[in-house]
């Protein structure tokens, strides 16, 4: 990778430890993705906020870094481990709360916007087409490239942090204005699809695709299915972009049919029932909350139900009456946090989680050791609520 004189000098440590560290990360990531140079970015979105995921080493690293580091561009951050307003209801130990607050303080000290959301594309105004950004959250990076017409690498927590601190990022294929055409097409053959099917399709695609993939037979996705596709894809692979395109082309073709879908389902579905319903991975935005309120009108859950949202929609969800409808249906509304790796769901207290999220299922299974029952939202409402 070619560096400018300025960048070279920062890499040598002539501009302080923070920039030396940031450029060391950018150079390694640039090599990894065959970038020939660094380009300016307008917006960074960071992962690595939840104490459950980054642990003591991460907390100490950020605390030290924040003494001197300041972000150079608009920077937003992923969910943390809990909602401070309701954390006392969840029996979380004081040490967790203390460490989480330290992480949150370190980010604020560096100048980030405390958004605590994995759906920045839904709660912030989107910049104009082809704007270069650096999104670490995998579902957000895929959404940015595939739906929002922005340009980002499928960043890591550190590469996005380095971008925030320098305002730069390696220029990979995904950042090109006219990107290379994907060399693989996945043909969606599953009929009667819903958001769960699209989550499974995403997980399947992520496993076999390179940096981008074409998907045929899947136009007109609603927001829920779109987010499920991004979430599933981000969980299983390296793929940072999909193109929905039914035109015939020369690329290699692979079918996603009922058999392939069942294989992925069997990998992630580990029980046939559960005692807790969890919605929101990725977090639910206002549109999905509004849908859900409509579906739940007059109904209530027979089991506990946790719903994860960004803080940015709390006021509107309340003003428009959605939050009230959901609370009356027995839902626990949680802001600033997310299903993935939440410390609020513990295998000692929960036999199984019912969810429509592939991303949620993967992390609940592997990180929280909790059994998961996968169902689409419509079936969750049918099975788990009463009039």
């Amino acid at each position: 990778m070619e560096l400018t004189k300025d960048e070279e000098s920062a890499l040598k440590g002539e501009k302080g430890e923070v920039l030396e560290l940031a450029y060391r990360i950018l150079v390694a990531t640039g090599e990894a993705i065959n970038a020939d140079r660094l380009v300016p970015i307008q917006w960074a979105h960071l992962s690595g906020v939840n104490y459950n995921t980054i642990g003591d080493a991460g907390e100490e690293f950020l605390s030290k870094l924040s003494k001197d580091a300041k972000v150079q561009v608009k920077t937003t951050v992923n969910p943390m481990g809990f909602d401070i307003d309701t954390v006392s209801d969840y029996n979380l130990d004081d040490d967790f709360i203390k460490k989480q607050q330290s992480i949150s303080d370190s980010y604020k000290k560096m100048g980030v916007l405390p958004s605590f959301s994995c759906i920045p594309y839904e709660i912030f105004d989107l910049p104009q087409k082809n704007t270069q950004v650096s999104f670490a959250e995998s579902n957000a990076a895929i959404y940015a490239n595939s739906i929002a017409q922005l340009k980002t690498n499928k960043e890591s927590a550190f590469s996005a942090l380095a971008s925030a601190l320098t305002g730069k990022s390696p220029y990979s294929d995904l950042r090109k204005e006219e990107p290379d055409s994907p060399n693989l097409t996945i043909q969606m053959k599953v009929k009667n699809s819903n958001e769960l099917t699209y989550g499974l399709l995403g997980y399947f695609a992520g496993k076999i695709a390179g940096s981008s993939v074409r998907i045929s037979g899947a136009s007109n996705l609603d927001k829920r299915s779109c987010k499920a596709l991004c979430g599933g894809m981000g969980t299983s692979g390296q793929c940072g972009k999909f193109v929905l395109d039914d035109n015939d082309n020369q690329s290699e073709k692979v079918d996603f049919d009922n058999k392939e879908m069942q294989n992925i389902f069997d990998e992630l579905n580990t029980t046939d029932s559960g005692d807790l319903v969890v919605l929101g991975s990725p977090q639910l935005g206002l549109e999905e909350i509004s849908d859900l309120a409509l579906m739940l009108k007059g109904r209530s859950f027979k089991k506990r139900c946790m719903i994860f949202c960004p803080r940015a929609i709390q006021q509107q969800a309340s003003d428009l009456g959605y939050a009230n409808t959901l609370k009356r249906a027995g839902c626990e509304m949680l802001y600033d946090c997310c299903t993935c790796l939440t410390p609020l769901i513990d295998k000692d207290n929960v036999d199984g989680v019912i969810t429509n999220s592939i991303k949620g299922a993967y992390y609940l299974k592997n990180s929280n050791d909790v059994k998961v029952n996968l169902k689409p939202l419509s079936q969750i409402i049918d099975d788990e609520t009463k009039w």
Binding site: A57, A141, F158, N366
Partner: protein, 126 residues
Amino acid sequence: MVEKVIVKGKAKGKILKSKIPINFLGAVDKKTGIIRDNKHDLFQKSIKNTILVFPYGVGSSVGAYTIYSLKSNNSAPYAMICQKADLTVASGCALANIPLVIVTQKEYDSIKNGEEIFLDTESKTL
């Protein structure tokens, strides 16, 4: 033959080789280095103090913090050898100073599990 050096360094140790990509956040215990994904071919094995050989990293971007945590907890591999580079592993190794190289397909196929090797990124040799 080393095709590309992502993070420089020298390392000596025993090869632990996997056929399956690794999602560091979900699949690896950041304190002990033990693989806890029961669908992974390294399930219940520890990557601590090994030369870890695997196709590439996948999944969560926070996996980079897992790699950094492994190093801080003295549970990291001495080095990593991949078939394909990816951002998460590259940036995690860069911050944690864990040597990381990409090798040619032929070299990758010939690396055997359990072998003792010496990796030197300067001379690009295994």
